[in-house]
């Protein structure tokens, strides 16, 4: 076994439930590489919802709370509130995070609460058998858009930026080195970090949308369509060409929510003491 796997995987839970050719295993590896380099496995508190990507943290030997569809972020907020020193990481998917859990994403980003949300975007509801997702491209035929998808896809990164996230990046499963670097940056970032990963699902997206269930074909599709760029101008240009720009989008410093909470708690407690009562 890969030494990282030997060190960090929850072995009684193996084999992975991921299909052959899935991108989730590549994400497990890139993430564990970052965790190993930072030496923070004991501080991790990870949450997930429902879907293929929600199983990613379960295979890591760490504290994991896998909750209901779309609800990973509120669970993460509870864990963070309970002990702010935790490194809280959420694994979600495009359906889990942008459709059923979309509202939670907006509000967690707005608070700039210190956590990392990793959203694995395979452009489909894969675990339920290939239905249209909020990230599915226009015209795509899926099990629930048999005549083609009429709806425009949602851009999770733009939403995260608009809502107030203070670190936003998008990479893909072929950018494993960049992913590890981005995970490390996010885990050290004081605030709400959002990482979208364009991932392959040969079994659903590949077969129904792209036209081939071959993992090689699907990875090649990512290589051809995900274009690393720097700067917003190029970003728009790539998008206008119908491709997917990837790269680091934003990293800024803003007051972090839990720190602000603790600061306010100290202040109101001091004031209450000054007023001569504890109420």
């Amino acid at each position: 076994m890969n030494p990282l796997g030997e060190k960090y995987l929850r072995k009684p839970f193996l084999p992975f439930l991921f299909c052959p050719g899935c991108g989730d295993g590549m994400i497990v590896q890139s993430f564990l590489q970052a965790v190993d380099e930072l030496g923070i496995i004991d501080d991790l508190a990870m949450t997930a919802g429902i879907g293929c990507s929600a199983w990613i943290p379960v295979y890591m030997h760490a504290d994991v709370l896998k909750v209901l569809h779309g609800r990973a972020i509120p669970a993460a907020i509870g864990l963070k509130a309970s002990r702010p020193s935790r490194k809280v990481v959420v694994f979600t998917g495009d359906g889990d995070g942008l459709a059923i859990g979309g509202l939670h994403l907006l509000h967690a980003a707005r608070r700039n609460i210190d956590m990392t949300v990793v959203i694995v975007n395979n452009q489909i509801y894969a675990m339920t058998g290939g239905q249209v997702a909020p990230s599915t491209g226009v015209g795509s035929k899926t099990q629930t858009t048999p005549y083609g998808n009429l709806e425009k896809p949602l851009d999770g990164c733009k939403i995260a930026v608009a809502a107030g996230a203070t670190m936003v990046s998008r990479w893909s499963t072929i950018h494993t080195k960049q992913l590890t670097r981005t995970f490390k940056k996010a885990l050290n970032h004081k605030g709400f970090s959002f990482i979208e990963i364009i991932s392959q699902c040969p079994v659903q997206t590949g077969r129904y949308i792209l036209g081939s269930g071959s993992p090689q074909f699907n990875l090649q599709w990512i290589r051809d369509n995900c274009v690393p760029v720097k700067g917003p101008t190029r970003w728009t240009e790539i998008e206008s060409e119908g491709k997917i720009p990837v790269g680091d989008i934003l990293q800024i410093e803003k007051p972090e929510f839990m720190e602000e909470v603790l600061r306010m708690n100290r202040k109101v407690k001091d004031e209450a003491k000054g007023a001569g009562g504890d109420r």
Binding site: R10, P12, F13, D42, D43, L44, A45, T47, I50, V58, H61, A62, D63, V64, L65, K66, V67, L68, R71, I73, P74, A75, A76, I77, G78, L79, A81, S82, R83, R86, L103, H104, L106, H107, V261, M264, N265, V268, K269, A272, D278, R279
Partner: protein, 378 residues
């Protein structure tokens, strides 16, 4: 006379006060009439005791956040009313499945849907028990006074910690908003239960292996146990269970509560315990029934009022005992007949008449109406 101090307070305030005393340090909520005061008090008070109160984006987020905080090691609570309680149902099932101790207050109002936001009702009686999907059990307490809002909140936290389960306080608008005398005992005179933590080191710890009482020890996150907690029916090590493991998991989370009901089930009788006519009530309606018993006594009527304080799991044996010797039962409730069905199930004697005195649309039953009901229907 109890020690402690006496305060005049609203039922909802008494609930918040008790939660703070019980050690609640995380509250997540969403404003909704008639439960909002609990959120308001917690947002004022929690910062003073190093706690945190969050107003979430909706009730789904609120209930899931308290499940997260509970696994984080913090006693947690949320409070809502009907429409919010609907949204919380998936999270209540989650708390059951991941065995997270937490307290959920439902200050009932009229329904269905938005119903009557400022009016009282008891229409969530079955929703409190059966609102989430699948087979499960949980504990539901019903206060009828501001004092009971206080006492039952303490009890709710203790039972949640004892059984690793969500405990629901099924209050209603009358109890939530009534202002009356509440005796707040000194903390030293109260018992506070803490969840069992594992005693064995990580290598020997089996996450969902229960002790003889059906409850597995619960480590806080980030204390070295590296526990996998999934919302699926699970095996003892926390993975998705096969059919046999799932069967055992589901049966255990039900029986850990239902086999130990004698630890917490409570049914009170007010008035003449030998009376042949009994009122059966829960929640705020107990108050009017008590007055009716007193008024009846003045008129020479022998009456008893049976008050079900822990409505779920339904305390069959205690209710049967409290109704021993009755010939006529009047079930009074603010819905179209819910606890009545449980009484019919428990009292299977065709000789005993079970009648429903039902009030809906926010109209609280008056004591004299109880007596008129007895006259008219005789």
């Amino acid at each position: 006379m109890k020690q402690g101090h006496i305060k005049v307070m609203m039922g909802n305030e008494a609930c918040a006060e008790a939660a703070l005393l019980a050690g609640c340090r995380f509250f997540a909520g969403y404003p909704i009439t008639p439960a909002t005061e609990i959120l308001e008090v917690m947002s004022r008070r929690l910062p003073l005791v190093d706690g945190l109160c969050l107003q979430m984006e909706d009730e789904i987020a609120a209930v899931v956040a308290i499940v997260g905080a509970s696994w984080g090691g913090t006693k947690s609570m949320t409070a809502t009313s009907g429409p919010g309680f609907c949204l919380m149902q998936e999270g209540i099932g989650l708390a059951v499945a991941v065995e997270a101790p937490c307290v959920i207050v439902n200050v009932q109002r009229g329904g269905p849907a938005s119903g009557q936001s400022t009016s009282t009702a008891q229409g969530d009686f079955y929703q409190a028990r059966y609102g989430s999907n699948g087979d499960y059990s949980l504990i539901v307490l019903c206060p009828s006074t501001a004092q009971e809002m206080f006492d039952q909140t303490i009890k709710a936290f203790n039972l949640a910690e004892r059984f690793r389960t969500p405990v629901i306080i099924l209050s209603d608008e009358v109890v939530g908003h009534i202002r009356e005398k509440v005796t707040i005992p000194d903390a030293d005179d109260l018992t506070f239960v803490q969840r069992k933590r594992p005693k064995v080191p990580m290598g020997e710890f089996i996450p969902f292996q229960a002790d003889a009482d059906g409850v597995p020890p619960m480590p806080d996150f980030n204390t070295g146990y590296k526990i996998p907690v999934i919302s699926q029916a699970k095996s003892l090590n926390g993975n998705r269970g096969n059919a046999k493991e799932a069967d055992e998991n589901i049966r255990r989370i039900v029986s850990k509560i239902e086999d130990h009901m004698d630890e917490f089930a409570e049914v009170l009788t007010y008035g003449d315990e030998e009376a042949e006519t009994a009122f059966v009530t829960f929640g705020s309606v107990c108050r009017a029934a008590r007055s009716a018993v007193d008024m009846g006594r003045e008129k020479g009527l022998a009456l008893r009022s049976v008050e079900v304080k822990t409505v779920w799991p339904f305390p069959d044996a205690l209710v049967r005992r409290a109704l021993d010797g009755v010939k006529r039962i009047v079930v009074a409730e603010m819905n179209l007949g819910m606890i009545q069905r449980e009484i019919e199930r428990v009292v299977r004697d065709p000789e005993i008449k079970i009648e429903l005195f039902s009030k809906i649309a926010g109209i609280y039953p008056q004591p004299q109406e109880f007596l008129r009901f007895l006259e008219v229907k005789r």
